[in-house]
């Protein structure tokens, strides 16, 4: 049983039409996840116990349940509430694209919050204390000392999270979206050539994952531009 190369070449342009939605989902979900993750990270490290407990529950729930289930709760579940259906928000929420973005961003936020917390706790406390002794204000300490150092610790695990989010966007095909996987599933239903089509789609995902990896490596190099040459941390 050979692979039908002509079929791959024929369907490649159609597959490409799904990349736009995949990338759109990825970018909006990652941005939403970063904003939400920052807020959650603040809550996780807050001095108020109730705020810490709430954020901890949120993170546990979203990291402990499958993304597919989260997506279904939001896409199918929210329609159960008449209040939501009659609110102006519904114009956005009935669109599967924005439902996916909401679900994926809520999911990513939980992971990003934990990565940020880890990165911040990895910065030696003494640096902040020294800066305080020199009379720097808390905001200036964060902006010029803690944040740049934490960024270096943040980027490598965040790169994994970004690739993992790329893979999560494939779930959008289960709620009728025509992303890369959605288009591939439609083409397979028509041609019944699962190997050719799905493997072509997989190669596109691998290429996207590789590009994300390269971008993060660049960002890492930029974040450690003050490192002395030859010193590895």
């Amino acid at each position: 049983m050979g692979l039908n190369l002509d079929l791959i070449l024929d369907t490649l342009p159609r597959l490409m039409s799904g990349i736009g939605i995949t990338l759109g989902l990825l970018v909006y979900s990652l941005l939403g996840g970063l904003v939400l993750g920052s807020l959650l990270c603040m809550a996780l490290t807050s001095k108020k116990p109730w705020l810490r407990a709430t954020a901890r529950c949120y993170v546990t729930f979203f990291r402990g349940t499958p993304a597919l289930v989260q997506l279904f709760v939001i896409y199918y579940g929210l329609a159960q509430f008449p209040i939501l259906r009659e609110s102006p928000l519904w114009i956005v929420m009935r669109d599967p694209f924005w439902c996916c973005v909401l679900a994926f961003a809520l999911n990513s936020g939980a992971y990003v919050a934990e990565i940020m917390r880890g990165a911040l706790s990895g910065v030696p406390k003494e640096l902040g204390e020294a800066a305080r002794a020199l009379g720097m204000r808390p905001l200036a300490i964060f902006r010029t000392i803690t944040a740049p150092l934490a960024l270096r610790l943040f980027l490598p695990p965040y790169g994994n999270e970004a690739v993992s989010m790329l893979k999560t966007t494939a779930l959008a095909s289960t709620v009728t979206l025509m992303d890369l996987t959605g288009v591939a599933r439609t083409v397979v239903a028509q041609t019944y050539a699962p190997y050719e089509i799905f493997i072509s789609a997989a190669i596109v995902y691998l290429a996207l994952a590789w590009i994300i990896g390269r971008l993060i490596t660049r960002a890492e190099r930029w974040a450690s531009r003050w490192q002395e040459a030859g010193v590895q941390s």
Binding site: F61, G64, T65, P66, F72, Q80, A201
Partner: protein, 230 residues
Amino acid sequence: MVSVVGWIDDYLWGTLVILGVYGVALVLCILWGLLGAAARLFGPRWLQPLVSLYVTVFRGTPELLILLIFYFGSAVTLTAIGQALDPDIRYLDIPPFWAGALAISFIAGAYLTEIFRAAFLGVDPGSIEAARALGLKPLPLFFLVRAPQMWRIALPGFGNQAISLIKDTALISVVGLEEIMFTAEMAISVTQEPFVMYMVVAFIYLALTTVITSVLRRLERRANRFQEVR
């Protein structure tokens, strides 16, 4: 909310199906991980690019897509073979249970290949040399010295994979496995309460991940029992 009560037994059966897939996939993924790590470390040179390809492909492709390739791919292959043997056969497939368990075990196996390899290399060579100097034969050396130390290093990474694996089982409903997502779908068609029914699924998964996490914590404590207290 009361409507959930009537569906409890269906959810329970669905949970058992999930646990079945999970059990099969967990055993298989450890096997793939060990084989992959062994091939990486001791395999012939021609095998190295193949193992790298396996790890890269299964880590960089969406889990759902891998599952679809396994399920629909096996169906096409089996049907073709079947028709060659008996032209009357219309359609053959691997049941979603096995196709799903196999697909998710290969994904976790790719991550475990790297985790086990790193753990093997992370064992202090001094302790191996000491054991050899004491005259331990290769087999007891592996099981008494190397394996317990490897296990300790591999456990945190293995734990993450064990948790991702249980979450991956939810995907198999997409190819028609009758587990708790399916139960929820049936319940929704009767009760019209999608939010409640899918939240039940979410809390079942939350319970499962909580149990797995606590088991892993126990295992870690046990694996570290000979470590000095710092």
